[in-house]
C-alpha cells in the first residue's frame, strides 16, 4: 500500500504503479495498480520476494525503487518530481485534472493528449465532441467550430498557448485553425467566463495548452501516423526536441491529406434536385493541411521565457453540387476523375502565430506576460457567378482574380499580463488583456467591411479559503472596446428606388465604443467526503462584431440579404451554474445544471420581407436583439463494474427560448437536441494499458427550430475504440483504432453546416493512429 504525491504534497491520481519481481520458483511476476484521487494505491496477494517498483505518471519523472516484501509492508510514500518544468510551477506542474476542477467554481473539464488520441476526430473540436455539453458545427470532414451548451461562434473563446485565437469567426463554414497533434491539454470551461477571458466568453472557453516541454538533458523524437478509411485520409506529425539544463528547442511538423468523404447514400437531394453521388462520395470535399511549429526558450529558476512560432495552412473544397445552400450544376466528369483533387468552390486559410510567454517569480508574486501576433489570411474561391445586378461577366479592370469570391486578412496584436499573489487565505490574481485587430477584405462579393478593433480589459480575482471545506470566489472586470468600420461601395451599379442606377454604398464609416463591467461569484463546498458541490453566478458580455453592426450584402450561400444594425449594444448575459460530484466505491456521478438569461441576445432574424435594391430580390435577414432564456445541463454516471470493466452514461439537455422580439417563443438557431452517450469499456490493469470501448450515442429529434432551419430526426450511432501500448521492432508504440459510425447509419446532424441541404453525415470510418515516442537521456 502506498500514496503518491507531487513535490508539494498534492495527491496524484491515475498514476500507474508497476511491481515486477520473481517468486521463489524464479517465475517472473508483474502486478499493476493505479492511484485513486487521494493518490492511494494498494496491492494484495503479493508473494514474498524482491520487487522492482516503478511509478509512472504523464508529466512526471518515473520513480523507481526496489522493495523486499516480507509479510505486510509499511505504507510507502512516493514523491514524484515534475518531468517538465513548465511556465509556472505552482499552477501548471501540478495541474492535474482533479485539482483543477476542485479549485474552480465554474464547470471545468480537462482532457489530455491520451483523450485526444483515443477519440481522434477530423479536427480538434470534433475530438472534443465526446464531452457532454460540447457539440460542433461541422463542415466536411476536416473542419468544425465548437458549440458549448449550444452557444458558439463569438460566444466561445478559444485560447491557444495563452493568447486568444482570432480567426474569421462569423462563418459557420470556417473551421478552427489549430493542429490537434500539437495539443498538450485542453481545458474546457462551460459557462460565463468573461471575467477571465474578456468579451466573447459568454458560452464558455476552450483553453488549449501546449505540449509539455522536453525534460532536462534529453533529446526526444516522436512520430505520429494517422489514417482514416472514410475519406482515405493519411497524415503524419513529427516532433523533434531537446533540452540542456535551461535552454530548449522543440519543433513539430504535421501533414494531413484527405479525399472526398463518403456518406451512406447514392443520391442526395439538394432542395428537390436529385444529385447522384459517384461511389457515395461528396464531390469536392477533399482537403489538405500543413502545420509547422517551432518552440524555444529559457527556463530559469525565477524567470522563464518561451517563444512559440507556428503556421497552419488548410485548403479544402466545398461540396460542388451546392455552394452553401445554392444548388450548382457541376461538371461531374471533372469532379469524379479523382476523389483527392480540390476543385472549385474551395476555401483556404493560413494562420501564422508568434507568441512570447514570460514568467517571473518575485517574492510572493508570480507574474506572467504574453505578447502575441497572429495573422489569419482566408480566401474563398468559386467560379464567378453573376447574382442580382452583378454583370454577367467579371470585368478584368477590377484587379480581382476571377475566382476570388471573398478574402479576409486579419492581423492581431495581443498583450496579456497577470500577477498571482498569495496573501493569507487569499489567492489574488490581477490582470490586463489588450488586443488590436486590423482587418481587410477583397473579392467580388461583399459581406463585411474592412475594420479596426481595439479592446482593453482589467480584472481582479480573489479565491478565499474559508475553511477546509469551503472555497469562495469573487471577480470583477472592466473592459473598453472600440470598433472602426470603413466605407464600402459596390463595384457594379444597381437599380435604385429613385430610378436609374447607382453604385450602392453598402457600409458607411462607423465608429462605435463599448464599455462593460462584469462580475462573478462562486463557491466550492465539500460537505462530505467524496461529495463536492460547486455554484457560480456571473455576468458576461460580448461586443457586437463587425458583421452584426455593418453587414449589408447578399449571402448567396443562404439566399439571404444580411443587414447589420449599427445601433446594437454590447450583449450581456447572466448565468447560474451548479454542479454536484460524488465519487466513491467505483461510482462517479456528476450532475451540472445551469440557467442563463440574456437581456439582449444578438441574432440574425429572417424577416418576411424581400429587398430588390440592396438585397437583389433576396429575403431580408436583420440583426436584432431579443431577451433569451436558456437552461439545461449534463449528467454523467460511471461505475467501475470490476477491475477491468467500466460502464458510463452521460447525457446532455438544452432548452432555449426567445422571450421577446420577432421570434418570440422560438428557440435559438443551432439548438443541439438532447443526447445520451452510453459506453462500456474494458481496460484491464495489464502492461501496455490495453483498452476496448463501445460507445452508443442516442440523439433525440429536434423539433425546436427557427427559420431557416429544418426539423431533424433522431438517430443512434455506434463507435468502437481500442488501443494498446506495444513494442514494434524494439520501439515503443501507442496504437489506437476507432471505428466511427460502425453500422454505417444514415443520419443528419442538426448542427451541421450541410444540414439545410439535407446531406447525411459521414458513413463508417476506421481511424488508425500510431505514435512512436523516443526519448534519449544524455549525460553531460
Amino acid at each position: 500500500m502506498g500514496r503518491v504525491t507531487d513535490e508539494i504534497g498534492t495527491p496524484i491520481a491515475e498514476a500507474r504503479v508497476t511491481m515486477q519481481g520473481a517468486d521463489a520458483h524464479g517465475d517472473s511476476y508483474t502486478a499493476v495498480a493505479s492511484t485513486d484521487t487521494a493518490g492511494v494505491f494498494s496491492f494484495s496477494g503479493m508473494v514474498r520476494g524482491n520487487y522492482q517498483v516503478v511509478v509512472r505518471k504523464n508529466g512526471y519523472i518515473d520513480w523507481r525503487t526496489t522493495v523486499s516484501l516480507a509479510g505486510r509492508t509499511d505504507d510507502l510514500t512516493i514523491v514524484l518530481k515534475g518531468a517538465v518544468r513548465l511556465l509556472d510551477e505552482v499552477l501548471v506542474v501540478d495541474n492535474h485534472v482533479e485539482r483543477r476542477k476542485q479549485g474552480e467554481s465554474l464547470n471545468v473539464e480537462v482532457v489530455g493528449k491520451d483523450f485526444v488520441y483515443r477519440n481522434l476526430g477530423g479536427s480538434l473540436m470534433k475530438t472534443l465532441e465526446r464531452l457532454p455539453g460540447v457539440q460542433t458545427i461541422g463542415i466536411g470532414s476536416g473542419q468544425s467550430k465548437p458549440l458549448i451548451r449550444g452557444l458558439g461562434f463569438n460566444r466561445v473563446v478559444v485560447v491557444d498557448r495563452g493568447v486568444k485565437h482570432e480567426g474569421q469567426q462569423w462563418g459557420s463554414d470556417h473551421g478552427l485553425e489549430l493542429d490537434q497533434f500539437a495539443v498538450g491539454e485542453v481545458e474546457l470551461i462551460k459557462g460565463a467566463a468573461s471575467f477571465i477571458y474578456g468579451s466573447d466568453a459568454i458560452g464558455g472557453a476552450i483553453d488549449v495548452k501546449p505540449e509539455p516541454l522536453p525534460a532536462p538533458h534529453t533529446r526526444s523524437v516522436s512520430v505520429d501516423l494517422v489514417g482514416r478509411s472514410n475519406n482515405r485520409s493519411y497524415g503524419t506529425s513529427v516532433r523533434l526536441g531537446g533540452r540542456g539544463e535551461k535552454w530548449f528547442v522543440d519543433a513539430r511538423a504535421t501533414y494531413l491529406r484527405y479525399g472526398d468523404y463518403r456518406v451512406p447514400a447514392d443520391t442526395v437531394y439538394v432542395y428537390d434536385y436529385a444529385v447522384s453521388l459517384h461511389r457515395r462520395q461528396l464531390r469536392n470535399t477533399a482537403g489538405r493541411e500543413t502545420d509547422l511549429h517551432l518552440t524555444t526558450g529559457y527556463l530559469g529558476d525565477r524567470f522563464n521565457s518561451i517563444l512559440y512560432l507556428s503556421n497552419t495552412f488548410h485548403k479544402a473544397g466545398f461540396f460542388a453540387n451546392a455552394h452553401g445552400l445554392e444548388p450548382r450544376r457541376v461538371d461531374t466528369e471533372l469532379h469524379d476523375q479523382s476523389a483527392r483533387d480540390i476543385q472549385l468552390p474551395s476555401q483556404q486559410v493560413n494562420h501564422f502565430k508568434v507568441i512570447s510567454r514570460n514568467v517571473l517569480h518575485l517574492g510572493e508574486h508570480h507574474i506572467e506576460a504574453e505578447v502575441g501576433f497572429q495573422r489569419n489570411f482566408r480566401q474563398e474561391h468559386s467560379p464567378y457567378v453573376s447574382h442580382g445586378y452583378m454583370p454577367s461577366l467579371l470585368p478584368d479592370t477590377l484587379g480581382i482574380p476571377a475566382t476570388l469570391e471573398r478574402e479576409f486578412d486579419k492581423q492581431v496584436y495581443s498583450l496579456n499580463v497577470k500577477d498571482y499573489v498569495e496573501f493569507g487565505k487569499h489567492q489574488l490574481t490581477f490582470g490586463f488583456n489588450g488586443e488590436h485587430q486590423h482587418n481587410r477584405i477583397s473579392g467580388w462579393t461583399f459581406l463585411v467591411p474592412s475594420f479596426e478593433q481595439s479592446t482593453a480589459g482589467i480584472f481582479g480575482y480573489d479565491r478565499y479559503r474559508l475553511n477546509e471545506r469551503v472555497l469562495l470566489h469573487g471577480a470583477v472586470r472592466f473592459d473598453h472596446g472600440s470598433l472602426r468600420m470603413h466605407e464600402y461601395a459596390d463595384w457594379f451599379p444597381s437599380d435604385v428606388p429613385e430610378g436609374g442606377q447607382a453604385y450602392l454604398v453598402r457600409a458607411a464609416d462607423l465608429h462605435r465604443r463599448f464599455n462593460s463591467f462584469v462580475w462573478s461569484v462562486g463557491l466550492n463546498y465539500e460537505p462530505l467526503e467524496h461529495l463536492s458541490l460547486k455554484a457560480n453566478v456571473g455576468k458576461s458580455f460580448r461586443m457586437p462584431i463587425a458583421k452584426e453592426l455593418s453587414a449589408n450584402g447578399v449571402n448567396y450561400h443562404y439566399f439571404s440579404y444580411e443587414r447589420g444594425n449599427p445601433s446594437l449594444s454590447a450583449e450581456q448575459s447572466y448565468q447560474a451554474d451548479v454542479s454536484a460530484e460524488w465519487q466513491a466505491n467505483g461510482w462517479h456521478i456528476q450532475v451540472s445544471p445551469f440557467y442563463n438569461y440574456f437581456p439582449n441576445y444578438i441574432y440574425l432574424n429572417p424577416t418576411a420581407a424581400f429587398d430588390h435594391f440592396y438585397g437583389a430580390g433576396n429575403q431580408v435577414f436583420e440583426y436584432a436583439e431579443s431577451r433569451v432564456m436558456r437552461y439545461g445541463g449534463e449528467v454523467q454516471v460511471s461505475r467501475k463494474l470490476d477491475r477491468s470493466f467500466t460502464a458510463e452514461v452521460s447525457g446532455e439537455y438544452l432548452y432555449s427560448q426567445q422571450l421577446s422580439g420577432a421570434k418570440k417563443g422560438f428557440s435559438l438557431p443551432f439548438a443541439p437536441p438532447p443526447s445520451l452517450l452510453m459506453s462500456l469499456s474494458w481496460s484491464p490493469e495489464r502492461p501496455g494499458n490495453p483498452f476496448v470501448a463501445l460507445d452508443y450515442r442516442l440523439v433525440a429529434r429536434q423539433d425546436r427550430i427557427v427559420p431557416p432551419e429544418k426539423k431533424t430526426e433522431g438517430y443512434g450511432v455506434v463507435a468502437l475504440r481500442a488501443g494498446v501500448d506495444a513494442v514494434l521492432m524494439r520501439l515503443p508504440v501507442q496504437l489506437n483504432i476507432q471505428v466511427q459510425n460502425l453500422l454505417d447509419t444514415k443520419y443528419m446532424d442538426h448542427t451541421s453546416f450541410y444540414r439545410l441541404i439535407e446531406l447525411p453525415e459521414m458513413g463508417r470510418n476506421i481511424v488508425f493512429s500510431l505514435r512512436i515516442p523516443v526519448t534519449s537521456t544524455q549525460n553531460d
Binding site: V270, Y271, D272, Y273, A274, E326, P327, R328, R329, P383, V385, S386, H387, G388, Y389, S392, L393, D495, L528, E529, H530, L531, F559, A580, W582, I589, V591, P593, Y595, N605, P606, T607, A608, A609, F610, D611, H612, A616, G617, N618, Q619, Y631, G632, G633, V635, Y653, Y655, Q657, A662, K663, G665, F666, D703, I705, P707, P708, K711
Partner: protein, 162 residues
C-alpha cells in the same frame, strides 16, 4: 454512521437529479409556427413552367399559387441568364440547354412584392415585359416566397426566351 452518510449523499443526489429533470421537462406549452410556405405544384395555370418558353418583345403574366398554414409574407421574382449553365435549378426535370455563350445584353428582372392582408392562400399575378433587344437563350426564373414568421420556400425554374 457511514451508512447514514451514504444515504444522505444518495438523497442529495436524487433530489438534485429530480430538480434538474423537473426543470428540463417543464416545457413551455407555447407553440410556434414551424411550417414553410408552399408554392403549389398542382396549380395548372402556373406560368412559366419548368422548361417553358417566353417570347421577346412581349409581355407575359407570371402566375403562381402560394399557401401557408398561418399567414403569407411576401414574394420575390428574379430572372437572369444561364448562358454559362451555372444552374441553381431546384427542379427534378432537366431541360434541353442551348450552347454555352457569352452574354451581350442579357435580360435581368428583379422585383419583390408584399402579399397584402397576410392571407393563408394567395394567387400571384405579375405582368413582366420582355424587351425585344435582349439576348435570347437559357434563363433562370427564381420564385421565392416567405411566410410572416420568415420561413422561405424557393423554386428555380429553367426557361427559354426566344
Amino acid at each position: 454512521m457511514e451508512i447514514m452518510e451514504k444515504l444522505q449523499i444518495k438523497r442529495i443526489i436524487i433530489a438534485f437529479g429530480i430538480i434538474s429533470l423537473a426543470l428540463a421537462c417543464s416545457k413551455d406549452a407555447e407553440t410556434v409556427d414551424t411550417d414553410y410556405p408552399v408554392i403549389d405544384d398542382n396549380f395548372t395555370e402556373m406560368f412559366p413552367q419548368q422548361c417553358g418558353t417566353v417570347l421577346r418583345g412581349e409581355t407575359f403574366v407570371f402566375k403562381a399559387r402560394f399557401s401557408d398554414n398561418v399567414a403569407l409574407g411576401s414574394f420575390s421574382l428574379d430572372v437572369h441568364d444561364n448562358f454559362n449553365h451555372h444552374s441553381h435549378s431546384t427542379e427534378v426535370e432537366a431541360c434541353d440547354m442551348g450552347p454555352v455563350k457569352e452574354p451581350k445584353n442579357p435580360f435581368k428582372y428583379i422585383e419583390s412584392f408584399d402579399i397584402p392582408g397576410a392571407p393563408k392562400a394567395y394567387e400571384a399575378e405579375v405582368e413582366i415585359a420582355v424587351p425585344a433587344d435582349i439576348d435570347p437563350g437559357d434563363y433562370h426564373f427564381m420564385i421565392k416566397v416567405t411566410d410572416r414568421e420568415g420561413w422561405q420556400t424557393l423554386r428555380g425554374l429553367s426557361v427559354k426566351i426566344q
